[in-house]
Each structure stands twice: as C-alpha cells, then as structure tokens.
Symmetry: C2
C-alpha cells in the first residue's frame, strides 16, 4: 500500500455519521447523535409494541425490476440507486419499504396468520440533492396492518399515528394530519368528466397547496389543451377549498370515513379532511393521509401513508393493507423545530474504576467488576497509572463517571 | 402498469427476510426469525453497555477507494460490491465495519474524548457464494477500544469477548479463543530468514489448520522455489505445533501478552496461544485472536479481531486501537448448533380486545385502550363482529392473547 494517500473523512454524500454524544468534547460540532436517532426509533417502537405490532425486516438490496414497475416514474428514472451485480443481476438499494414488505408477506403467504400488525425500522436510498429534511439515505419505520378490509382498522391506523406524536411530546399545535380517499377522488374526477387525464391531474393536485395560482396554471396547461379547461379546474378546486361540503357529500358510503368521523368526535386530534391530499405513490387505493409540521419557520410534510389493497397482486397474492412510514430525517427536523428532543442524552451512568497499577488488574477482574455486574452497574476503566489521582478522576468525570472505585 | 407480470418473492440472493415468529402458523417453514436476530444483537449490546461502551453508526454506502486500498486483495477484486452513482462517484457497499469506524473517528478527531469504547450493529455485503454460515449480507457488532496503547486494555478486550459468550449461555466446551501477536510473527519470520515472502507466508499460515500436509505443500510451492525450503518451513511450523515453547520465548517483552497470561491464571476462559492465528486483514499490528465453534459437526471460525494501531493513518490521523466483530450469520450457526437460543420467543403477552360491534369502538378508544396503556399492557384488536365469540377467542389465543376483553 502507498503510505502517502490520505483519504477523505467525509461520509458518502447525503449519508450521515452518528456519534455518541458522550464521546464528543463539543457536541455542537457534530450534526448527528446516535442517541437522537435511537430516540426516534425507540419512541415509535414502544408505541407500536404497545399496540400489538411485531417486528420484521428485509435487506436494503432488492432485485430492481419491481421498483421500476411500481414506485412511480420519478423514482425509477431519477432517484433509484440501481446497478448490476457480478452475476449480472439487476439490483437496487430500496427507495422505500412498502414494496419489500409486500414481497416478504407474499413469500410466506399461506403460512401467515392474518391480520398482521407489523413494523420495521430500516434504511432507504434515493439519489436526490441533499437538503434540510431530505437526504440520500434515511431510516423509516414502516408500519402496516395487513389482512383487514377498509373499515374500523382505518381509524386504528389514525389512532396509532396520534399516539406516536403524543409519545414524542407533540401537541396539536405542532402538527396536523390531513386525509382524503382515493375512491372519493375517483368519484369526484368522474363527476367532473376528468377521467381522461386523471393520473396527470393527481400529480398536479398532489402539489396544489405548495403552489400559487400561476404555478398551478402552468402545471395544468401541461395536461390540458385550452385555458378555459384550466380555469374551470382551478375554479372547481378552489371552490372545494372554500367549502368541503360538496366534496364530502360524495363520501357517503365509505364506511371507513364514517368511522373516522365518528371516533374523532370524542378525540382531540389535529386531523382534517383535505381534498388535496392524494399521495405520490400510484399504489394507494383507499384512505390516504399526510402529516404536516405546523412550525411557521419550516412548515412541511413529515410523512404519510394510506391503504394499498392491490399491491400484493405484483407477487401473485391478494390481501388488503394499510400503513404509513415516518422517516428519521423529517422527524429529526420536526423534533428540532419544536425542541422536543430530551435535553440531555446521557449514556447509562457509569462507575469509574481506577486500578492503581498493573498489579491491581487481577483483583479488578476477580472482585470489583463481577460485583458491579451483579448490580447491573455499567463501568469505565482508566489505565493511566502514571497520572495523578486528581487528574484521573477529572478525566473520568468528563466521561459520565461521577463515582469512582480505587483498586489497590 | 402491466397487470400480468408476477414478480418473484425471493429476497436478493444471499440476503434474508426476517419474520416475526408469532405471525407464522408453522414457524419451521421460515428460516429466519426477527426475534433471533434481535437476540444476537441485544445480548451482545447488553454486555457492551455494561462494560461502558457507547453506540455510533455510519452508512452502508462508502466511497470505494479506501476499501480497494486496504481491505485485502481478495475483497477488492472479487467480493466488493462496487458501483458508480448517477454523479459518477465510485461507491461501495461496505464489506466490513472497521474502515468506516476509522473514517468516522478521523472525521471528528480533535473533538473526541479518547479513549473511546464504541460499538455499532450494522450490515455488510460481500459478493460470495452463499453457504451455511456465510451469506452476501450479514450484520456485525463492531466493538472497539480506541486511544489506548497495547497493554492492560488488550486483556479487557479478551474479557469482554468472554462475557459475550457467557451472556449467550455458552460454556468453555462450546468455543475456544486462540490468540497470537503480529509482532511476534514478525520476529519469528525474521529469526527464520523468511522476510522476503512474509506477506505470502501469512496467507498460507492463516489457512494452516484448515489444510492437510499436501494442501499446505501446494500453497507453499506457490511462493517458494524449491521443495527443500517448503519442507523446512513445514517442519518448523509442525515443530511449533507440537511445542509452543520455542515460539513463546520470543514473546517476552510484549507486555500485553504478559498481562493476558497473568489474568488468565485466575479465569476459566477457553483461550490458548496459537502461532497459526494471523487473521486475513493486512491492517493488524499487535494482538490478533479468533473464536472457534468447537461443535464436532461443524467446527469453524466464528469471528476474530485484533489490534490495528496504524489504520487511521489512511485518514491522516494516528491513534492506537483494538477491536473485534461478531457477525449474526456465524453466531446464528453457533447458537443453533449448541441449542442456545431461548426455547420460545413470544412477543410481549397481549390482551385481546373484542368489540361487539362498530358501536363499541368509541368506548374501546376512550376507556379500554387508555386503561391498558396506563398499565403498559400491549393489546390486539379483533374486528370480526360477524363471527361467533368462540371463534374470535380461538383466533386471539393463536395470536398470543390468553386474556380477552369484550367491549359492548
């Protein structure tokens, strides 16, 4: 090896190094703390386990063909990490977790006890320009209930969503949940005679609230021939924005929407019906919802989900399913914005062990450490015999050891 | 999308799908249970946290140049998953964790409080023929102490190693730890005048115990011109195998070896000095060790480690370090061979909730669930109002719910 080459210490663009807070002299110099990522994971996981969910997982590497078919055009053409392995297989780093979930379920379909309440904390990759709240690698908690038709379970998912925000200490001024229904969208589009360009219109509507009147017009002109139609759609959309009644009248007969409304009457959740929530993925079939950060400095979509009753068709199976997937990058922004991270992350309080010389080691391993282990007490060992006791104790104090044991 | 395509449910070759045991009717039909992988992770993590280790992590994607320089020829030329991203960067799925650890440490070098006791549970990829105990994707617990010169800390690492096996319930008949020292190897090679082909000889010695006399001869002939030299080396190696005394005499002056011997006198660890342990990676500089499964049906190397005092040189920094990395694939074989997995993995015992109709839901969310949550009691909800109570209770029993609550 050439001794001269010095390699960069930067992680691959858009990925993160997570440091243990206790190891850093000036924690502010690092952007990412492992304890914070663990806090996001553990907080959500605790809610899910309490609500009867079980953990599964699968690999970040998948055969790429299924993503190209199903994850939406944008992902496949621009953002998918795809490559060829040494055996000429086309593989990809998964850009999301729901397709993998479907494959895993289909793989043991006849051996599974439905309904499944499953979760997985796993990483995904998208080739995008890294920015605040969006990186190339992110972790998601995939949360799904599989095997129950639209109905009471749709509200259960909303309930779990609310419990997650509550577990983070978020109150209803900090976030909102907005929901809609793909079936309702279809009825509404049919009612207005827009079936011919429904797919393209979904994409415009998905961005509706993020755009101003002019930008909406530009997007609509891409799919509509004349300005009169653009104006008509704009007017219809705006009218709905002012008064949901017309749109909601169509919702009669969707039992899951009735049940949500009924349950929400007695619950203090910041949730609203919103006709512009459609979600990007093409595989949604029923209820769709999206959670937003209400912070004025940085209002943004946090994550979303919905019902996907046909997704397992890809693997030759059929089962109804509903789920969502909060990600660690956007949740980090949310918790930071609202100051919801615990103030101090300390690793378990440790006892410092100070052997006085190398002769003390045998006693340390035979007597001191077994005693601490019996107490379930974590320890840290300082070997710098040559330094003064004061200096050694000071060093241990900086390492979260407020108590020390001297070993003669 | 074409409705006809049915995609395979197989995970990418050499990767695994992990199922929650409780979800499977016949668990034996699945090879991998999430609870078992978690058991491996959690058992090791508990030992490490008790011994004062802190968690870090980094991405599975790394710039590939550093692996090609340092991970050994075999890895780079045959087993490295390397590709080009859409921005023409050469990237790789990491084949091991120690190089990434070094990069992460170098990245905040002046901001870190050495010594570091760090761990990380992360996945690695190697393009190999999948076989028992070796897959293309595996998880490792990277365990390192960084910032302490060879000495007492080398035994601390051996101690932690023993604690991990103890935590799995392994006794000294089930595994062995064998150790050697790279500095000692260097002295021994110099003493015999073999410096000219030391690197190649290391590779042969690394396989010594796995090969018979003939195979060793073939390997040695590849690096030595005449049969006389081959015979001389073989004789010397065999003599050492029969009597370590000659080899061990060289060990005087290596303080870390003295300390290990001294501490081991009073500890019942299945550990032996072994001149054939050299470890594949070129970056080891001092103590090297390897753990073996002693199962007669499947004796094999489980994992290993050693001291790597120069590895951060690659990133322009210098700090002594020592570590090891047990992997989930080989530990799975070890625990299976010796029947060391807990008999039954149950998810947290759940209480089944049986709403009698849709009208019961509001009461369920307002009264029953908050009460269970206060008790920290996990629950499962059954919505099949149309079925008989008996059938519903039977179904819940199969889902680990031995107690049920009816909601009128």
């Amino acid at each position: 090896m050439s001794k001269e080459t010095i390699f960069s210490t930067a992680p691959y663009k858009g990925t993160r190094d997570f440091y243990p807070t206790a190891s850093l002299s000036t924690p502010g110099k690092s952007n990412y703390f492992k304890e914070r990522q663990n806090h996001i994971k553990n907080t959500i996981e605790k809610v899910l386990v309490g609500c009867g969910f079980d953990e599964y997982s699968s690999s970040v590497l998948e055969y790429s063909d299924v993503f190209k078919q199903k994850s939406g055009e944008e992902l496949a053409s621009r953002a998918l990490y795809e490559f060829t392995d040494r055996g000429d297989r086309q593989i990809a780093l998964r850009p999301e977790l729901t397709l993998g979930l479907s494959r895993v379920i289909a793989g043991q379909f006849d051996n599974l006890r439905f309904p499944l309440r499953w979760f997985s904390w796993d990483n995904c990759f998208r080739y995008e320009r890294p920015q605040k709240g969006r990186l190339r690698e992110f972790w998601q908690m995939e949360v799904d209930i599989v095997g129950l038709e639209a109905g009471a379970v749709d509200y259960e998912v909303i309930f779990v969503l609310g419990e997650i925000f509550r577990a983070f200490g978020a109150d209803k001024n900090m976030y909102s949940i907005q929901y809609n229904h793909r079936g309702l969208m279809d009825l509404w589009i049919a009612k207005n005679g827009w079936q011919g360009f429904a797919g393209e219109l979904f994409a415009v509507i998905d961005n509706w609230v993020k755009l101003d009147e002019t930008a909406r017009g530009i997007d609509l002109r891409k799919i509509l021939d004349n300005q009169k139609d653009v104006q008509k759609i704009t007017n219809t959309m705006n009218r709905i924005g002012e008064d949901f009644a017309e749109y909601e009248k169509l919702a009669e007969g969707f039992v899951e929407l009735d049940l949500i409304k009924k349950n929400l009457q007695s619950v203090d959740l910041p949730i609203q019906f919103c006709p512009w929530i459609v979600r990007g993925q093409s595989y949604y079939t029923g209820l769709v919802f999206e959670c937003f950060d209400k912070n004025n400095n940085n209002p943004r979509s946090l994550f979303g989900g919905g019902r996907f009753d046909n997704l397992l068709d890809l693997f030759g199976k059929s089962v109804p399913a509903i789920g969502f997937a909060p990600g660690d990058v956007s949740m980090h922004e949310f918790l930071t914005n609202w100051n919801l991270y615990p103030d101090v992350f300390t690793s378990q309080q440790k006892i410092g062990i100070l052997p006085m010389s190398e002769k003390s080691l045998v006693k340390m391993y035979q007597e001191i450490i077994p005693k601490l282990q019996k107490q379930g007490q974590a320890f840290d060992i300082d070997y710098s015999y040559e330094r003064s006791l004061n200096k050694r104790q000071e060093a241990l104090l900086k390492r979260d050891c407020s108590e020390n044991i001297l070993v003669e």
